[in-house]
C-alpha cells in the first residue's frame, strides 16, 4: 500500500512502488487535470508540486512522492495560483488547453520562489514545458502580468 497526500487529502493506494505518480493520480485516484504528454519528463504536461517544487509526475515513482502533492485542481485555492490563472484568462493564453495545467503549475512554482522574475528567468524556467499550439508569447506575458499583480498586492 502506498499513501499519497494530494491537495491535502490522504489516499491509500494499492499500486506498485514504481508506478509513476502521473498514472496513480489519473487512473487510480481519478483526478484528470494532470496530463500525460511524453512520459519522459520532456514536455511538462504532467507537472505537479511536490512540497512546493514543480515536479514531473510522469517520471516520479509513487514511492518517491512522499510529501505534499499539489495538482492543478488545487490552484484555484492558492493565492499565487489564482493570480496566474486569472492572468491566463485575461490574456487568452490557452488554445487547445491540454498543456496549460502543467504550464500554470510550473509558472506558479516559479512565482512562489521568484516573485518578480525577469524575462530571462521566466524563459529559462518555462523551457521544459511544451505547447504545440505555440502560445509561448502569451504565457510569458501572463506570467509577467501575474508577477506584477503579485508585486502590487
Amino acid at each position: 500500500m502506498i499513501n499519497l497526500t494530494i491537495n491535502g487529502q490522504q489516499h491509500e493506494l494499492d499500486v506498485p512502488d514504481n508506478m509513476p505518480l502521473l498514472w496513480a493520480i489519473r487512473d487510480v485516484v481519478g483526478m484528470k487535470g494532470t496530463k500525460f504528454g511524453c512520459g519522459i519528463a520532456q514536455c511538462g504536461a504532467c507537472t505537479v508540486h511536490l512540497d512546493g517544487v514543480a515536479t514531473r509526475s510522469c517520471v516520479t515513482p509513487v514511492s518517491a512522492a512522499q510529501g505534499e502533492i499539489t495538482t492543478i485542481e488545487a490552484m484555484a485555492d492558492d493565492a499565487v495560483g489564482q493570480k496566474v490563472q486569472q492572468a491566463w484568462l485575461d490574456l487568452g493564453v490557452a488554445q487547445c488547453g491540454y498543456c496549460q495545467g502543467g504550464q500554470i503549475m510550473n509558472a506558479t512554482a516559479l512565482l512562489k520562489k521568484t516573485p518578480e522574475p525577469d524575462t530571462q528567468e521566466i524563459v529559462d524556467a518555462m523551457a521544459g514545458n511544451l505547447c504545440r499550439c505555440g502560445t509561448y508569447n502569451r504565457i510569458l506575458a501572463a506570467i509577467e502580468r501575474a508577477a506584477d499583480k503579485e508585486a502590487s498586492s
Binding site: 512520459g39 519522459i40 484555484a76 488547453g97 505555440g134 502560445t135 509561448y136
Partner: protein, 778 residues
C-alpha cells in the same frame, strides 16, 4: 459528464419543412456578403457541397431554458482554434444573448442532424458563420413574435434588447427565458423573411478584444472553455472517466504494412494489473483509417498496460510491407533529387520555358527539401469505446466524427445507427486527429470486452513513430532572368508522395487537392511557366498536417523568389511585387486548378491585390529596408492558402557562433471578414511558433522503414526560448471579400520567411529543412 445530446426544440418544425422554405427563398438577398447561394442539394461549392452540407435550423442549434440560460450547440471539433468560443459567439451576438448566460454544448457525431462536422481545411468559420447567424436570427425573431403575441402589439413595435424583448411604447420587457416556451410553439421563419443585425448592432462579431500586440484591450467576451482549462476541469479525450474502465496500449509493427509473425506474451501477462493480450490483424496497405495491427495489452491502468507491452516478445513479418522495410530517408531524398532532374507530368504550362531558359541572361536554380514531420498534438491519440449488445459508444478527440462513426460501424459490422460518437475537446489536432484510426483500434479491443469501456492510450512514442506523416518533399526550381533581372521563365518540379496513397494504390503523383495548395496556384506573372510533377512513391502513412502541401510549396517558392531577387541584385520586396504584377483576380481554372479549396472561384479568386496588400503591410510594419548591423537581417515570405492571404517578415540575428535570435515577427493577414479577431491573432501567433519549429527543428527520418525519432528528446518542437521575442499580428480590415480560412494559412510562409531572414543576416542559404546545426560555425 453529461453526454446527453437531445436537441430541445424552439419550435416544432422539421428540417425537411425548413428546407422546403429555404428552397422557396432561393432568390432572397440579405446583403451581398450574405449571398446564400444554392441550397445544399444543388451546391457545387462551399459548405453546401460538403458531405452533410449546412443546417441553419434554430431548433438544432439553440435552446433557451426558462431561467434564461441560452445553450448553443457547437458542431465543429474544438482543437485549440477557438471555434467553440467563436462560433457560439457569432450565434449569441445575432441572438442578442448576454454572454455570461450563454453555454456551449458539443454536438455528437450526427451529420444528418448537424450538417458537416469534419473539422479540417480551415473551414469551420467560413462555412458556418452564415448558417449560425441565420439560425440565431430566426430564434430571435421567434422571441420577438412571442413577445408581440403576449403584448398583443404588432411585431414591428417589439425591440430586441440584450437577453430580453422590449416594447418601447409602453416600457414593457420580457426576458428570453420568459418567452422561450411561447416561442417554441411558433413556426421557424422562412429564410427569405430573416432579418440579420446590421454591423452597428453587433457587439462581438468583428470587434477587437483581448491581447493586441502586447496590449490588453478587453478580456471580454471570455473564452467558453477558459476557466475549465486553467482549473484542470476541461475534459479532453484522455479525461473520460467511466466506471469499470480497462486500459489498453498496442504494440504496432515498426514498418508500415508489416504483420505479427509470432508473439510470446507470457512475461507480459505476469505484470501486475495486466489482464489480457489481443492480437490485432492489420488491414495491410493502403491503411486508410484502419488499425495498423499488432498486439494490444489490456490492464487495470495505463501504466500496467505499458509495462506489459514492454514485456511482449514479438517477431514481426516484414514481407507484407514490401519495400517499405528498405525505406531510408537519405536514400529517398537522393532518389527524389535525381528524379527532379528529369521532366515530370506537366501540370501547368504557358510559353516555352526551355527556350526562355536557353535565352536567359542569367539562370537561377535551386532544390529544396522538407522532411517528414509528425503532427504531435500535446494530447497523444486516445479514445474510450464500449461495445455492448451490438452497439458501440465512443468518446474521442476527433476532427472527423462522421468518419469515426463509419469506421467503428465498419469494423464491428454493425449499422451506423448503432454507433454513438461523443466529441470531446481535442488536446491539439493539426490534422493527426482527422484520422480516427486510434478510435477504431479502441473499438477493436473493446469488442473483446462486452459492456466494458476500454481506454486506448497512445504513448508519445506511438504517436511519433506511427503518425500519418507530413509528406517528405523535394522541389526543384529553375528560372531565367533577362538583362535587367526580370523573370522570363519559371520551371518548378515538385515531388512528394501523395495522401491518396493512404486510400488507394499509390498514384505516385500528387492529386489535384495537393497541387492546388500553392503549386499550380502560384500567382507570379512570368511569360513562360512550366510546372511538373515527377513521381514519388509512398513508404509510410502519409496524411494531413496543418496546411498540408502548402508547406513545401510555400517553402520552395518563397525561398526561390528570394534567390531570384538576389541574383537580379534587387530588393526582395520590390522584386516579388514585380513578380506578382499588378492587382488582378486569377481564376483557379486558368492556372490548372479545379479545386480552389472547394470554394466558388467567383467568390474566391486568387486576388493579387490582396496578396500585394499583405506584403506591403507586413514589410511596412517591420520597417523593411532599414539598415541592419552585421549578423542581423529581415526576411519576407507570403502565401495564399485556404482562401486567405498571409505575409510574414522576420527580424533575426545570428551571432559569430551561429546562434540564432528571432527578435520579431510581423505577420499581415487577410481572411476577409473577421468573426473573432482575438482568436485570429492567436492562430497567427501559434502558426508563427509552429512554423519556426518546421524551419529549425522538426524532422522524422526513417531507417529500414522505421521512424528514428520517438519522443520530444529527438523529435524537436519549439520551446519558449525558440519563440520570437515579439510577435505582432496585423489584421487587414477587409469586410467586403468572402470569408477565408484562419487555422492553417498562417503557417506556410513562416519557414521560408525565417530562412530568408537568416540569409539576409548571414549570407547562408538554407535549402534543406530543418536548419538544425547548419548555422553552426565548424
Amino acid at each position: 459528464m453529461n453526454q446527453s445530446d437531445d436537441t430541445l426544440l424552439l419550435a416544432n418544425v422539421s428540417r425537411r419543412g425548413l428546407l422546403k422554405g429555404l428552397a422557396g427563398g432561393s432568390a432572397l438577398l440579405l446583403a451581398a456578403r450574405w449571398d446564400l447561394g444554392l441550397a445544399n442539394e444543388q451546391a457545387q461549392f462551399g459548405a453546401g457541397a460538403m458531405p452533410g452540407g449546412w443546417v441553419d435550423n434554430p431548433n438544432v442549434f439553440i435552446h433557451i431554458d426558462p431561467d434564461g440560460t441560452v445553450t448553443i450547440i457547437n458542431n465543429r471539433a474544438e482543437m485549440g482554434q477557438g471555434i467553440r468560443t467563436s462560433l457560439v459567439m457569432v450565434a449569441a451576438d445575432e441572438l442578442g444573448a448576454d454572454w455570461d448566460r450563454v453555454r456551449a454544448r458539443q454536438a455528437n457525431a450526427d451529420q444528418d442532424k448537424y450538417g458537416n462536422q469534419n473539422t479540417d481545411g480551415s473551414r469551420s468559420m467560413r462555412h458556418w458563420y452564415d448558417p449560425m447567424r441565420r439560425a440565431a436570427a430566426a430564434a430571435r425573431m421567434m422571441l420577438e413574435q412571442a413577445a408581440a403575441d403576449q403584448w398583443k402589439v404588432p411585431v414591428h413595435e417589439v425591440r430586441a434588447g440584450i437577453h430580453k424583448m422590449e416594447h418601447p411604447a409602453t416600457g414593457r420587457e420580457l426576458g428570453f427565458g420568459d418567452l422561450a416556451a411561447a416561442a417554441r410553439e411558433l413556426d421557424v421563419p422562412v429564410r427569405s423573411a430573416l432579418v440579420l443585425k446590421s454591423d452597428s448592432e453587433l457587439r462581438f462579431i468583428g470587434k477587437e478584444s483581448g491581447l493586441i500586440n502586447g496590449e490588453l484591450k478587453s478580456a471580454y467576451p471570455k473564452a467558453i472553455d477558459g476557466e475549465d482549462i486553467v482549473t484542470g476541469k476541461a475534459v479532453f479525450g484522455a479525461d473520460i472517466d467511466l466506471e469499470n474502465t480497462l486500459y489498453a496500449v498496442v504494440a504496432r509493427p515498426p514498418v508500415y504494412g508489416a504483420k505479427v509473425k509470432s508473439v510470446d506474451d507470457s512475461e507480459a501477462l505476469k505484470v501486475t494489473g495486466v489482464k489480457k493480450t489481443i492480437r490485432i490483424e492489420g488491414t495491410g496497405q493502403p491503411a486508410a483509417f484502419n488499425p495498423l495491427g499488432g498486439v494490444a495489452v489490456v490492464a487495470s491502468n495505463t501504466w500496467a498496460a505499458m509495462e506489459g507491452r514492454k514485456a511482449l516478445k514479438i517477431e514481426w513479418d516484414n514481407a507484407p510491407a514490401g519495400d517499405n522495410a528498405d525505406y531510408t530517408s537519405d536514400a529517398y531524398r537522393e532518389s527524389l533529387e535525381k528524379a527532379a532532374q528529369s521532366p515530370g507530368k506537366v501540370i501547368r504550362q504557358s510559353g516555352d520555358v526551355e527556350v526562355a531558359l536557353k535565352e536567359a541572361n542569367k539562370r537561377v536554380s535551386a532544390t529544396y527539401y522538407m522532411p517528414h514531420m509528425a503532427q504531435a498534438p500535446m494530447e497523444p491519440p486516445v479514445a474510450v469505446v464500449r461495445v455492448e449488445n451490438g452497439k458501440a459508444e465512443a468518446w474521442a478527440p476527433v476532427q472527423n466524427p462522421r468518419a469515426t462513426r463509419e469506421g467503428i460501424a465498419g469494423l464491428l459490422e454493425i449499422d451506423m445507427a448503432n454507433v454513438t460518437v461523443h466529441q470531446t475537446l481535442l488536446g491539439g489536432g493539426f490534422g493527426r486527429k482527422s484520422k480516427p484510426d486510434f478510435v477504431i483500434e479502441a473499438a477493436r479491443v473493446a469488442k473483446e470486452f462486452e459492456g466494458q469501456p476500454i481506454k486506448l492510450q497512445w504513448s508519445r512514442e506511438d504517436d511519433i513513430q506511427h503518425a500519418y506523416f507530413h509528406a517528405v518533399s523535394v522541389d526543384h526550381l529553375e528560372a531565367g532572368l533577362d538583362g535587367e533581372g526580370k523573370a522570363t521563365s519559371w520551371r518548378h518540379r515538385t515531388l512528394s508522395p501523395s495522401i491518396a496513397s493512404l486510400f488507394a494504390p499509390d498514384p505516385k503523383h500528387k492529386g489535384e487537392f495537393e497541387l492546388g495548395m500553392g503549386f499550380n496556384t502560384m500567382p507570379f506573372s512570368i511569360p513562360a511557366i512550366r510546372l511538373e510533377n515527377p513521381p514519388a512513391p509512398a513508404h509510410v502513412r502519409i496524411g494531413w498536417f496543418r496546411s498540408v502541401y502548402n508547406l513545401p510549396h510555400a517553402w520552395a517558392i518563397q525561398s526561390f523568389a528570394h534567390e531570384m531577387a538576389e541574383a537580379a541584385g534587387k530588393d526582395h520586396r520590390d522584386y516579388v511585387l514585380e513578380l506578382l504584377g499588378p492587382g488582378r483576380e486569377v481564376h483557379n481554372l486558368t492556372v490548372g486548378d479545379g479545386w480552389n479549396y472547394g470554394e466558388d472561384p467567383d467568390l474566391y479568386p486568387i486576388d493579387v491585390a490582396r496578396m500585394r496588400r499583405v506584403i506591403e503591410r507586413a514589410t511596412e510594419e517591420a520597417g523593411w529596408g532599414r539598415e541592419t548591423k552585421k549578423g542581423r537581417g529581415l526576411g519576407l515570405a507570403f502565401h495564399h492558402s485556404f482562401v486567405s492571404y498571409t505575409a510574414v517578415v522576420f527580424d533575426v540575428e545570428v551571432d559569430d557562433d551561429g546562434e540564432l535570435t528571432i527578435h520579431r515577427a510581423d505577420i499581415a493577414f487577410d481572411c476577409g471578414p473577421q468573426a473573432n479577431p482575438e482568436r485570429i491573432r492567436a492562430q497567427m501567433e501559434g502558426s508563427c511558433v509552429m512554423g519556426i519549429g518546421i524551419a529549425l527543428q522538426s524532422e522524422v527520418f526513417f531507417k529500414d522503414g522505421v521512424a528514428q525519432q520517438s519522443n520530444f528528446d529527438k523529435y524537436l518542437i519549439p520551446r519558449m526560448p525558440d519563440a520570437p521575442d515579439v510577435v505582432r499580428v496585423h489584421l487587414i480590415d477587409n469586410p467586403d471579400d468572402a470569408m477565408g480560412g484562419v487555422g492553417e494559412p498562417g503557417l506556410p510562409p513562416v519557414a521560408p520567411a525565417l530562412c530568408n531572414a537568416i540569409y539576409a543576416a548571414t549570407g547562408k542559404r538554407i535549402r534543406r529543412l530543418p536548419v538544425g546545426n547548419q548555422l553552426q560555425v565548424s
